[in-house]
């Protein structure tokens, strides 16, 4: 029995040696016994379990201790891919739509032509406020779009040196232009908020498509339904970009990295919508409508234009005794 056990042990040891002898050359064939991906696997596990990888540091900026956080990738995907598509579709799509509209509808003419008699639509302070916002907005839009599209569109054209200098200037111009823009919109809100409250007349205006389709001109007061919608979108949009912009102007003072990312997303999306909205506004105020620009140019609009687009406002002005101004150099016609 003892002999049998001894033979079994001997056999087992022989088998073990055989296994070791065959396995050793296989291990020796590996270039390195250390798995180079092992650390990455651990990091991936950490990222999945803790939603971030962070360590310890000695500087006060604790944010710098965070190496990876999943939302950073989502934000990067938004900023580098989705935002480009959203911005491109909104801006180029709107320009294409306006072009089609222009080709189909053409310029909205003053029916009956210009009378030569004008009526004051916006006083100098209103125009001043409007143009302060307009100038600020153009600077903000150009410099803001540079942040989104500059790297793709401008950098290949002008090279890294010029692009970095331009982008540095654009970034500062963007920051400083925000002040006149926000102050201007606030003043405009104080000036026009009451006149831009929606009424039943505006419902009719919207039902009839604002007179854009066909040749009917739905009634409107000083501001029609579309202008009121634009006004409130500008006010709300400004609140949105100003609030999110404050987070970006003072990074990490008010929020953490996630908050910064959300603020940037909100800021970018509202800004893109804003640019689209203002492109449409510029079109209808210049190319799309005869006599429309006069309202913000000289402040005086032709009485025929006013009766066509804002008849209720004309009635109101006439009712208040503010008659239309005859053209310069016109001689008064004696009553018959």
């Amino acid at each position: 029995m003892v002999m049998v056990c001894a033979r079994i042990r001997l056999f087992a040891v022989a088998i073990a040696l055989l296994v070791l002898a065959t396995a050793a050359p296989v291990a020796a064939q590996q270039p390195n016994s250390v798995d180079p991906n092992a650390d990455a696997v651990k990091e991936q596990q950490l990222l999945q379990q803790l939603h971030r990888i962070q360590g310890l540091g000695s500087i006060p900026d604790t944010k710098s201790y965070v190496i990876e956080q999943p939302m950073g990738r989502v934000w990067r995907l938004f900023h580098e891919v989705f935002l480009h598509w959203i911005g491109g579709v909104v801006i180029l799509g709107l320009i294409a739509l306006l072009l089609v509209f222009y080709l189909v509808r053409g310029v909205i003419r003053i029916e009956g032509g210009r009378s030569g008699r004008t009526i004051l639509r916006f006083n100098s302070f209103e125009r001043f406020t409007h143009w302060t916002i307009a100038v600020s907005f153009v600077i903000l839009a150009v410099t803001g779009l540079n942040i989104t599209f500059g790297k793709k569109l401008l950098l290949p054209l002008i090279g890294p040196d010029l692009f970095s200098q331009w982008s540095l200037m654009a970034k500062y111009a963007h920051d400083y232009s925000s002040f006149p823009f926000v102050i201007g919109v606030f003043v405009l809100f104080l000036l026009w908020a009451k006149e831009n409250l929606f009424t039943k007349v505006d419902i009719e205006w919207f039902k009839e498509g604002g007179g854009m389709v066909g040749h009917k001109h739905p009634p409107a007061g000083k501001f029609n339904g579309g202008q009121k919608a634009l006004f409130w979108l500008v006010v709300l949009g400004t609140i949105g970009v100003a609030a999110s912009g404050a987070f970006l102007l003072f990074p990490f003072y008010l929020t953490n990295i996630l908050g910064m990312q959300i603020a940037q997303v909100i800021h970018a999306l509202i800004a893109i919508a804003f640019v689209g909205l203002i492109i449409a506004h510029i079109y209808i105020g210049t190319l799309g409508m005869e006599g429309g620009f006069d309202a913000m140019g000289t402040g005086e609009v032709d009485i025929n234009w006013a009766k066509q687009h804002h008849p209720l406002w004309v009635d109101q002005v006439v009712g208040q005794g503010r008659a239309a101004t005859p053209p310069a150099g016109a001689t008064p016609t004696p009553a018959e």
Binding site: I59, D61, F128, F179, I183
Partner: protein, 83 residues
Amino acid sequence: MRAFLVACLAFVVIGAAGYFLLASVQEPSGVAFTTSGARISPDWSWRSVGSRAGECDARKSWQWVFVDFGKPEGESATCSISQ
């Protein structure tokens, strides 16, 4: 036209006020994100570390904006590039 020109002027004036406001409230990133113990100088943020940083004056914000309009007298061109 006059309203537009005055608006341009107002834009510049309010924008300049915005610059002074931000300059007084915002902290330079070189100060905000480092410790005073580890920081050799608040002007650490020269990009060209160890080149000629010691000979360069720190740029004010307006100099950054108008970076193409020259450099402080007697200063190397490297300073403009390095910032």
